[in-house]
Amino acid sequence: MDFRWTEEQELLIQSLEELLQREAPETLMAELDARHEFPFKPWQALADNGILALGIPEEYGGVPADITTLTLVCETLGKYALPLGIIYSLGIITIRDIIQFGSEEIKAKVLGGFVRGDLPVALGITEPQAGSDAAAMKATAQIDGDDVIFNGQKMYCTLAKIAKYILLMTRDAQGTNPYASISMWLLPTDTPGLRFNILNKVGWWTVPTYEVFIENARVPRKNLVGQFNSGWPQLMANFEIERLALCAASVGAAEAALEDSLSYANRRVQFGNPIGSYQAVQHILTDMAIKNENMRNYIYKVAWMMDQGQSVRHEHAMCKLYVARAACEVTDSAVQIMGGLGYMMDHRVQRLWRDIRLMRIGGGTDEIMYNIAGPQLLKHARKS
């Protein structure tokens, strides 16, 4: 067993760390958060330095990268500038769906644009009545000659208004099996008939989320991504890597929370000694460090399995469940260690705490992760 990164990975991450310190320093990220502004400039810097090119096919300006390398990138983004890690993770699923299922024309414009700094394609699955039960979606796609006309309402559609495209999921009302009645489309966000309502969130203030009302939005039929009524399996193909990427960003945030806590515990004097000298505080810090170590090992293992072409059907769900909860606990402990300061907007741990809380809900809730992993575990036990 070899826990070392490759030299290429070490050099890439060193370079990325320096880039983030230059282009996305904490002061800037804090400012953008307070102003609820998308980090356009740091995002462009990622493109300019080839980070967004990673894992994109070379013919569209990309550079080969395995899943382990992408995981390290997400973790580093999460540590230095969590919103960038979040945005990158959201992009991973839609961009990969397009790499795998998009037509040549769609790939050329979307992938080339992404490598040059376009925002990721937003993902339109969730609807008011279809959250965890995503297949209960109702948005329709009606073929009209060479065009298709969309109607419906999407919920919690992150980046929708500011991205160039939404990867829109629709449901064929005629189909009896919902999983064989869903289609995937590329919907330009400037299409007439779209209305966006921004949602106020507890965290993710620099990464806007919208409710999208779709009324007779007409696009060419060739905007279909993949096969008609094959949208569900296409979507599932890349959910695992999206969850892994969200986990990696969360681990980065937990590392940042621990670093802040350690440095504060060494500095802050109460009762005549640094609070770090008290066992009660050392226990909290040690538990945080153990969780971080476990989370990191778990995401690297899942990434490695994916790179080996192994199935991660239940492992990825267990990993997401563990990481989302552990990262919430670690950021909560950071707030605790900082006492009153931890609860103040002046310090970043409150932001990490607010931003990380979503990880137990978005990309599939904790409970849904149990629902994926549990039956798989039982099935494996029956087989062996």
């Binding site: 030299e7 050099l11 890439l12 370079s15 320096e18 880039l19």
Partner: protein
């Protein structure tokens, strides 16, 4: 234009550990490209990109600089090839020895138009290697160079001095030590990192350099100690400017400073 850029690979200063007796341990330090040399590499690569030619990175030091990650790190920043003179006798080499070895290597590379170095090395920072190198190669050598333009068959340079900027035109070949603000060094991307592994690396021994005389150190390091941290005095001086100046002078005399 054929450019050689000299870069020292040295222990990262942020990894230095001070032992309880004040001695310094570099055992756990990661070795990196000298931070001041990164600017020289950037300047060399930009000149090549604008005017054609090639950039050869050159580094001399102990065996451990011949490490594949360091080689890739150097080459991922743009040079076309790398020459390493890595022998343990060069561990802790003084500026005279370093300049003699680099001069011999530059001669062996041959037909070099321009040699660039950083302002000083990241660990010792004597700021002398560039000038000594020019002397040994018998070509013009300048430090504090903050701008380089190719002009006719030579270069036009700006030197940032304390009070003024000096503009000079020089024939080539020449040796120039660049300032830290000449350019912001680029950050290598994955494409460049992957490409770095495919670029040529030449490992030369001191014997390969055919030095007439074995390089002779001029400096003998007697000891290296971290300064002992001193508790701050925390003295607040109040009163009118005259009174304050008086009492400040009093304190300075009392502490034996003046």
């Amino acid at each position: 234009m054929k450019i050689v850029v000299c870069a020292k690979l040295a222990p990262d200063a942020s990894d230095i550990e001070v032992r309880s007796d004040g001695s310094i341990s570099l055992d756990r330090a990661e070795w990196r490209i000298g931070s001041f040399d990164l600017q020289a590499i950037e300047a060399a690569v930009r000149l090549r990109d604008a005017h054609g030619g090639s950039v050869t990175a050159l580094s001399a030091g102990p065996q451990r600089i011949n490490h594949s990650k360091l080689r890739k790190d150097l080459l991922s920043r743009g040079p076309d090839e790398l020459v390493l003179v890595a022998e343990d006798v060069l561990n802790g080499a003084d500026t005279a020895v370093t300049a003699q070895v680099l001069a011999a290597a530059v001669r062996k590379i041959g037909a070099v138009d321009l040699v660039l170095t950083g302002e000083g090395s990241a660990d010792l920072y004597f700021q002398q290697v560039g000038l000594q190198l020019g002397e040994l190669l018998e070509v013009p050598a300048f430090n504090a160079v903050s701008k380089i333009e190719v002009k006719d068959s030579g270069v036009r340079i700006e030197r940032s001095l304390e009070e003024e900027t000096e503009v000079l035109e020089l024939p080539l070949p020449a040796v120039l030590a660049v300032t830290t603000d000449i350019h912001t060094p680029r950050l290598p991307n994955m494409k460049e990192i992957l490409l770095a592994a495919k670029k040529p690396v030449y490992e030369w021994s001191l014997a390969d350099l055919e030095l007439e005389n074995a390089p002779e150190p001029r400096v003998e390091a007697v000891s290296l100690r971290a300064p002992r941290p001193v508790e701050r005095k925390r003295i607040l001086i109040e009163g009118s400017p005259e009174e304050a100046a008086q009492s400040l002078a009093g304190y300075l005399v009392k502490e034996g400073v003046v």
